[in-house]
């Protein structure tokens, strides 16, 4: 067992693939654009960023879309976009899909399956589905025998973990609310953000219950939008127009499917997924300059700050109170405003975290720029913490 582990450690993706293009469609409320049109907008933006023509794409990895429910979205998009890839797959591990697409794209280019992999997510949850249908569609992701008959929204699985965190560690509703307030502050600096009104802790606490202990403003948005990237073999970075951002570490963990089989409601598989990513990247949490942390709900961020190692277990609430997750703090997170205030078009939501971290590492964020950002982390998760995926990114200086 020990020898198989050391062999695994010797097989690394570190620095073998780079993000050579990054882009997005319009996001937020986008009237009159189908899911495929949004996807096309994002893919074109990523190609333009890399300085590539669409024919250069020979691999396509995508998530699925609720409003365009193709079983083989990656194949359907390739047809729509007029390309014939020789490597393709449509991935589905809920919210964690974003980071898994980068991890698998990096492995594909390192292993010679493709030269330039398009990583893409698109959906139209706001204008392509009614709110009722969007919520019911997401609920359909819970098990039809042991969960769905009890009327358990996806939000409810996350809410039960947050509730338990309050009981075990004394985390407060005000601390959850402060996460929302900081994300809104970030969105105010981000062109194109869906939510642009400043909010206070009291606004969050008075916004009405969704599912206890979460109020409306503890919950992420429902949006339209798409984001796309080109992942290329690292030895080709000189051929692209953009400043390369390298994939340094990757890790995933899947601890359960049903929320009642989650081993602990307050410690998640993000511990294992991030440990694997840090080990591959050869860094530790304190080395990370900027992070994208999946923020489907406010309490999710607090729990992930702990499990990703940015603060000790149980200290997440106080860490947020101390404003450690914004400029001047120890780990600026979701500087674009995240799923809570920038946009949450479903599966592409976490790709927007990748876009922000890539732009931070390229120094393109203007007044949102985290000075000297060289090493970034994005953590995607989904399905009541069932799915967890971490990707560590770095500039050329970090290789």
């Amino acid at each position: 067992m020990a020898s198989s582990r050391s062999k695994l450690a010797a097989r690394t993706l570190r620095g073998r693939a780079a993000i050579s293009g990054a882009g997005r469609s319009a996001v937020g409320r986008v009237q009159g654009r189908s899911v495929m049109a949004l996807a096309s907008d994002a893919a074109k933006a990523a190609l333009a960023d890399a300085g590539l023509e669409r024919g250069a794409i020979d691999g396509v990895l995508t998530s699925v879309a609720f409003a365009a429910p193709f079983h083989r979205f990656s194949v359907a998009f390739s047809e729509y976009f007029g390309i014939v890839p020789t490597f393709s797959n449509t991935l589905q591990v809920s919210g964690a899909t974003a980071a898994t697409m980068f991890n698998i794209a990096a492995a594909a280019v390192a292993g010679g399956l493709a030269e330039n992999v398009l990583v893409l997510g698109a959906d139209s949850l706001l204008t392509g589905l009614s709110p009722d249908l969007a919520l019911r569609s997401m609920t359909e992701s819970r098990d039809q025998q042991y969960e769905m008959p009890f009327g358990i929204p996806v939000a409810n699985t996350f809410a039960m973990t947050a509730h338990r965190h309050m009981k075990e560690f004394g985390t407060t509703a005000e601390q959850f609310a402060r996460v929302a307030v900081i994300h809104r502050e970030h969105a105010l600096r981000t062109p194109g953000a869906q939510m642009t009104e400043p909010i206070t802790v009291d606004d969050v606490l008075n916004s009405g219950w969704v599912t206890t202990p979460y109020h409306k403003l503890d919950c992420s948005l429902i949006s339209d939008g798409a984001a796309a990237f080109i992942v290329s073999a690292a030895d080709r970075v000189g051929e692209f127009k953009s400043k390369p951002v390298f994939i340094l570490g990757a890790g995933e963990c899947y601890t359960h499917e049903h929320i009642f089989l989650m081993p602990s409601l307050t410690t998640t598989g993000a511990v294992q997924s991030s440990a694997k990513a840090y080990a591959m990247a050869g860094c530790s949490p304190k080395d990370i300059d900027v992070a994208g942390v999946y923020d489907c709900f406010t309490g999710t961020v607090i729990m992930m700050l702990e499990d990703l190692g940015f603060c000790p277990k149980g200290e997440g609430g106080r860490f947020v109170d101390d404003r450690q997750i914004t400029y001047g703090g120890s780990i600026p997170c979701n500087t674009h405003g995240g799923l809570l205030s920038y946009a949450h078009p479903g599966m592409p939501g976490s790709l927007l975290h990748f876009l922000e971290v890539v732009q931070q590492l390229r120094g393109q964020c203007g007044e949102r720029q985290v000075a000297g950002a060289e090493l970034g982390l994005v953590h995607s998760l989904g399905a009541g913490f069932a799915t967890q995926a971490t990707t560590i990114l770095g500039t050329e200086a970090t290789l």
Partner: protein, 143 residues
Amino acid sequence: MRRIDPREAHVKPLPTPDADSQAYWDALKEGRLMLQHCRACGHKQVYPQAICRHCGAEELVLEPASGRGTVHSFSVVHRAPGPAFKQDTPYAVLLVELEEGPRMISSLMDADPMSVVFDMPVALVCDPIDGGTVLPRFRPATR
């Protein structure tokens, strides 16, 4: 992936039993909540399946649970997950820890949903719903 039809969204989802779970759903119709016990290692599990999740053995038997448990966590739903559950709000979804050890998802009956607290003792209620299905739900119990 499939797109939910608007009419379908107004209908509550019902469990469709399979070969693993038919006996579990049948027993609920007779008022019993069954736990699966592993004869090889003693592990008890919700939900029934072909192998023990702990040791991988296939010597599994169904035994009725006592129906007593406590609330490990909970969340009271005010915004329904689609139109089918709107008339039920607010309702309390419970993560019940059965006294035999395993946990399960259920919902509260016969009490104010906002009165739920952690570690509250609860007792099984076999609740008949549409189409002959019986759901394992819980009500407050005295210890």
